[in-house]
Each structure stands twice: as structure tokens, then as C-alpha cells.
């Protein structure tokens, strides 16, 4: 009723037509009651009791096909109504169809509204498409490649045959389980273009992908979850490059700014010749002045051969005696075994201290090393102190995390497209 526009009727010169209503008749095969909903347009209908297919074009009610094979129920029953794309539709029939070899099967529901005509609601493996006949010439229909139709660019998707294997309900054509048409499919997700060709006519229809949950809600009935990718389903894995791109640019700018303003100054460097005599002693660097707050990086280098070194350090503010501990351990071993040469550890290491307040500082070092336990030549150890050094680690971690998102989404996008295109192609 809501589809009827309101307005004051003009003076009526003729008696109004009797209201339109569904019509019922007795099935010529079993006598059961058959209801026609799209009176005057339905040409064939099936008996809901014996499933005979009846020609209802005139009063003769000829049987087209007596009792089809076993009745097949559909997920949505005939007579069910739903509001789709803001129009109320009633299911008046459904057909089971399959491709030539029968590998791919789908169901087409015929929807009727006396004001809006017909739509097809196509269900393939849980994916739903609402299809409307186009009434537009598509000069390139049938071509393999990109074609223009109804103002959209469509990509060729597949070509094959559609065979009707079962019909129930009423149709505006003489439906039959002998129907075979050549179908060419094009996609522009969420839209889909279908070109059906037989000897007498070319029918071009355009479909729009519907969310399965929306269809279930509209018909108020549970429907199975879609499997794999829908033919004209919009790829759900968005490239989302915009947000990621902005994040990468912002992080890079931040890093470049921090590189530009960091002092990255060498404030002290000293080489100590360590011997066993230094065990238990505390060595001190010279004092240095930090004019503003900044982090401290302590870089240690020692030439170790099959030995270890541990430096227990403390950065001390000489004015306040505030102390910041740091610890550096190095080891370096190498040798030869049955697998050949091997090497473990290294001769260099760095420790990073979080920012310290401005002031005058010195570094106290308590060393310990393997060679302290035995008499040997002195071990030169260089300790360099850098102030306000730029940090790369946070930036690199951020980059890795940010770029992982589009990389994963790209892979999922590609997998979805692969699954979609497995259903396409040309069937000979």
C-alpha cells in the first residue's frame, strides 16, 4: 500500500475497476488449489501439492510437465515478503539452476510487486544479489573484456550456460526444466551485469550485491553464512593506505625533526689499559658539562680474545651526587671444531641512559674481566660518552607495525580476489 502515491483523484467518468486480487484454480493434475499472485502476467505456475508445471496463459490450464522430481524446498518460501532497497517484494517463485557441468549451483527467486514489477533475488553459496532487467541496449553485450552498460564500466567475468533444474511457483514466462541459456557475466562490484541469450532474445540484467544478514533480517528468517567470495561482492579487505600513509609521513617527520635538533655530541672519550691490578678499583672519566637535558649513550670498545669484560658504571652529577647506573658486558670467543671456524660475541657495545638533567657529570667505572684472574698484558678499553643522541629504534618499530597492516590487508585482498575469480572464466 505504501507504494501508492497519494493525491486527489480526478472526476471519474467511468466505473472504477474491481480491486485486483490473487486468483486460485484447481490443479488439472491433482485437483489441489493453486494460487496465482501476479495475475495476468504469470504464464506458468507449479502446483504446490503435486509440483506439476501448468501453463496458465489462458483458461485451458495445460500441463507443461507432470509432477517434477522430488519437491525441493527453498530457504525462503513462496509468499514470503520483504522490504529490499526500500520496496516491498513478495516471493512468487524460485528456480534451481546450475552451470553446464553442474559444478556450480544457485537459486533464483522471482520477486513481485504489482507497482514495481519483478526482480530476481539470486542466491549462490550464501551470497545474495538483487537483479533487475535493464531495458537498456548494451551494444557490447557478450564481448570478453571491459564493456559500458547503464553508465558503469563492467569487467568480463565469465561465460557459460545456465540450466534450470527445478521450478516452483509462478513465472512470467513458460518456465521449464528444459531451459538452457548462454550467460555472460560482468562485474563492477557491488554491481553485476548478466547477459542471457537464446534464439529469440537477448536479456540484459543488472544486479547489486546484498549483505546476507540484511536479506535474513528483511525476510525475518535465518540464512546460511556465505562461503568463499561472492561474484560481485565488494572486496572486504580495504587497502586502507590513506591512514597508514599519513601515519608513516607523520612518524618520519617527527624522526627527521628529532634528528635535526639533537646535539649528538661526543662529550668524553678515554682509553683505559686494564690489568689484573685494576680489579676492584673504580676508574673515573674526566668531568663534562651538559647545558640542557638529554640522553646519554656510552659506547664501549675492547679487543677481547676468548675473554669477557664487565663494566659496572655510574654516571654521577658532581654537583648533586645524583647517580645513574649503567652496566655493560662484552664477550668474544672463537675457535675451530668439526664444523669449521666459529665465533661468538663481539668487541663493541652501547648502553643508552634516559635523559638526565643539565649539570656537570663524570662517569665512574668498576671493571672486571676474565684476564684479571691471570697475569697477562694490559687490555685497552675505550669508553666514549655521547650526549643527546637520536634514537632510531622507536621509529623503526613504528614503521614495521604500520607497514604490516597494509601488507596483511594486501595479502587478504589478493586471496579474496583469487577466490572470486575461481568462479569466473569461460566454459566451453
Amino acid at each position: 500500500m505504501d507504494d501508492q502515491p497519494s493525491g486527489s483523484p480526478p472526476a471519474q467518468p467511468v466505473p472504477p475497476r474491481a480491486p485486483g486480487r490473487p486468483r486460485t484454480f484447481a490443479c488439472p493434475s491433482c485437483g489441489g488449489t493453486v494460487t496465482l499472485r501476479a495475475v495476468g502476467q504469470s504464464i506458468s505456475a507449479t502446483c504446490s501439492q503435486c509440483s506439476s508445471l501448468i501453463d496458465v496463459a489462458d483458461e485451458n490450464l495445460r500441463i507443461i510437465e507432470a509432477a517434477q522430481s522430488a519437491m525441493q524446498d527453498a530457504e525462503i518460501p513462496i509468499g514470503a515478503r520483504a522490504r529490499l532497497s526500500d520496496i516491498e517484494w513478495e516471493v512468487v517463485g524460485y528456480m534451481r539452476r546450475s552451470d553446464g557441468p553442474g559444478d556450480f549451483r544457485w537459486t533464483e527467486y522471482l520477486l513481485f510487486n504489482p507497482y514495481r514489477g519483478y526482480r530476481f533475488l539470486v542466491e549462490e553459496y550464501g551470497h545474495w544479489t538483487l537483479v533487475k532487467m535493464l531495458n537498456r541496449d548494451v551494444p557490447e553485450a557478450g564481448k570478453q573484456g571491459w564493456i559500458e552498460a547503464n553508465g558503469r564500466s563492467y569487467q568480463f567475468f565469465g561465460k557459460g550456460f545456465a540450466r534450470t533444474t527445478y521450478v516452483a511457483g509462478e513465472f512470467f514466462w513458460r518456465a521449464s526444466t528444459a531451459d538452457v541459456t548462454a550467460v555472460t557475466d560482468y562485474i563492477a562490484p557491488p554491481y553485476r551485469l548478466m547477459v542471457e541469450k537464446n534464439d529469440a532474445e537477448i536479456i540484459v540484467s543488472e544486479g547489486e550485491y546484498l549483505d546476507a544478514r540484511a536479506v535474513a533480517t528483511a525476510f525475518n528468517t535465518p540464512l546460511r553464512t556465505p562461503s568463499s567470495a561472492g561474484v560481485s561482492q565488494v572486496n572486504p579487505h580495504k587497502p586502507s593506505l590513506m591512514v597508514i600513509g599519513f601515519a608513516v609521513i607523520a612518524a618520519t617527520m617527527l624522526q627527521l625533526t628529532s634528528l635535526a635538533i639533537s646535539a649528538n655530541a661526543l662529550v668524553g672519550s678515554q682509553t683505559y689499559q686494564l690489568t689484573a691490578a685494576d680489579k676492584g678499583k673504580t676508574l673515573s672519566s674526566g668531568t663534562f658539562r651538559l647545558n640542557r637535558s638529554g640522553n646519554i649513550e656510552i659506547e664501549t670498545g675492547a679487543y677481547l680474545i676468548n675473554d669477557w669484560l664487565e663494566l659496572d658504571m655510574a654516571l654521577v652529577n658532581v654537583d648533586t651526587n645524583e647517580s645513574y647506573p649503567a652496566f655493560q658486558s662484552l664477550e668474544h670467543y672463537r675457535g675451530t671444531d668439526s664444523d669449521g671456524d666459529w665465533e661468538e660475541g663481539g668487541n663493541n657495545g652501547t648502553v643508552l641512559l634516559p635523559p638526565v638533567p643539565p649539570g656537570t657529570y663524570k662517569l665512574l667505572i668498576e671493571p672486571d674481566a676474565g684476564l684479571f684472574a691471570k697475569p697477562s698484558s694490559p687490555l685497552p678499553v675505550t669508553v666514549a660518552i655521547r650526549y643527546d643522541v637520536p634514537i632510531w629504534s622507536n621509529y623503526l618499530i613504528a614503521m614495521a607495525l604500520l607497514l604490516a597492516v597494509p601488507a596483511i590487508s594486501m595479502i587478504r585482498r589478493m586471496m579474496f580476489e583469487k577466490s572470486r575469480w575461481e568462479k569466473g572464466g569461460v566454459a566451453e
Binding site: M1, P16, R21, Y115, R116, P139, I202
Partner: protein, 225 residues
């Protein structure tokens, strides 16, 4: 608008368009033809086959912002179905047609003057269909026709039979009147139908219009909708 007394039952038979020559009495279904001064009955129209169309004689609507009223109807049948051709009278006096088939609505107006060469050519191929013969090899859907500056593609060719009529019409349309009808469509929704009744060819050109755009009023009630 002119009124005549139905020669059969005496009820008013109204001709809202001066160009209408044929009408069916809404009360006794007599088919009347308008002469110079009165109307003559030429028989009785059988009841039209029932349908679920929301339209009726007297329904109003709009096409290209101009109001129209439905004044007549032809019920047409062909091998695989039925459709309605509603005759409409525009506010400016023009008369046209709304083809109502499977819930699609095409609005078209008869092409005046000499018909384009393509139309004559089309009928040369298709006319044998009218007498039960085979059309020429060219009489297969898919060919292009030039009509009023637009290129359209013929998408179906059928033998149509009038199953009845009501209201007023520009020609006599008794039950059983046969025509060859060629429907054509364009890339932008243009529509044309070429028909030939054995005596003369007519071409109607127009376009497909969505239900909402027609803004119909005074619709027929439909049970359950």
C-alpha cells in the same frame, strides 16, 4: 470532450479526445465508432482478462512534468504472455501510450508524417509473420533502426493479438485484431515500438519511465498491497 448516448444501453459514452474514433461503453461493453453526428455500435466487447495492474481508466500521472489521464486500454496477448497498452491524453491534447509489461512502463507517442526508411524495411522483413508465414532472415532481433535521430536496437519481434479493449481509442480495436510488433531499445532508456496491422504501419517513440517518476494518482486498489 463530447458525450454520446450509447446506441445499445443509452448510458453516456464520453470522448475526451477529439481524435478518438472508437470507444467501449463502460456499462454495456458495446463497441462504438464515432461518425459525424452520432455513434454506431459495431458489436460487444468481451470481458478483459483479469490482471494485477494498479492502473485503471481515469488514473492520472505525469510525464515530463505534464499531467496526463488514462482514457483507453488495449489488452494484448502473444504466444508467451500478455500486456496492457494504456492510451493517455496529455494536458496539451497530445495522445500517447503507456506500455505496461512485467512492471516496466514505456511512454511513447506516435511518430507523425512519413515513416523513416528503416521502419518500411523492417516491415518488409517481418510482415509475413502476420499471415502465419516465416519472416525473412533479417527478421531476427538485434538489428538497429534510426528513428527520430536516435539509434535503437530491435530486441523482440512478436505477433500480437488484441484480446479486448476499454475506454476510447484512436482506432477500432476489436478482439482478434492482429499486428506485428517490433520493440526497440536504446542505450539511454529510449524506447520505440513499430507495429503493422496489415493495412498500415505505425511507429511510436518514447522512453522507459520508472514507476515513481510517473506519479500516478487514482490507482486501482489491489488486495493485499
Amino acid at each position: 470532450m463530447r458525450k454520446f448516448a450509447c446506441p445499445s444501453c443509452g448510458a453516456d459514452v464520453t470522448f475526451r479526445s477529439a481524435q478518438s474514433v472508437y470507444a467501449v461503453c463502460p456499462y454495456c461493453q458495446s463497441m462504438v465508432v464515432r461518425g459525424d453526428v452520432d455513434v454506431t455500435s459495431i458489436g460487444v466487447m468481451a470481458a478483459l482478462p483479469e490482471d494485477m495492474s494498479p492502473l485503471q481508466l481515469g488514473s492520472g500521472g505525469y510525464f515530463e512534468d505534464q499531467p496526463f489521464t488514462l482514457i483507453g486500454r488495449l489488452k494484448i496477448g502473444w504466444r508467451d504472455g500478455l500486456w496492457n497498452e494504456w492510451h493517455l491524453l496529455m494536458a496539451d491534447g497530445r495522445r500517447g501510450w503507456i506500455g505496461e509489461a512485467q512492471g516496466s512502463f514505456s511512454v511513447s507517442f506516435e511518430l507523425e508524417g512519413v515513416l523513416p526508411r528503416d521502419v518500411a524495411q523492417t516491415f518488409e522483413y517481418c510482415l509475413p509473420l502476420l499471415t502465419g508465414g516465416e519472416g525473412a532472415d533479417e527478421a531476427k532481433p538485434g538489428f538497429l533502426v534510426e528513428l527520430g535521430g536516435t539509434t535503437l536496437r530491435a530486441v523482440d519481434i512478436k505477433l500480437a493479438t488484441c484480446l479486448g479493449s476499454e475506454g476510447e481509442l484512436p482506432f477500432a480495436a476489436p478482439k482478434g485484431r492482429r499486428t506485428v510488433a517490433v520493440d526497440c531499445i536504446g542505450v539511454g532508456g529510449e524506447f520505440a515500438t513499430l507495429d503493422h496491422d496489415g493495412h498500415r504501419a505505425r511507429a511510436y517513440v518514447g522512453r522507459y519511465v520508472e514507476w515513481d517518476a510517473l506519479r500516478f494518482t487514482n490507482l486501482r486498489p489491489l488486495e493485499g498491497w
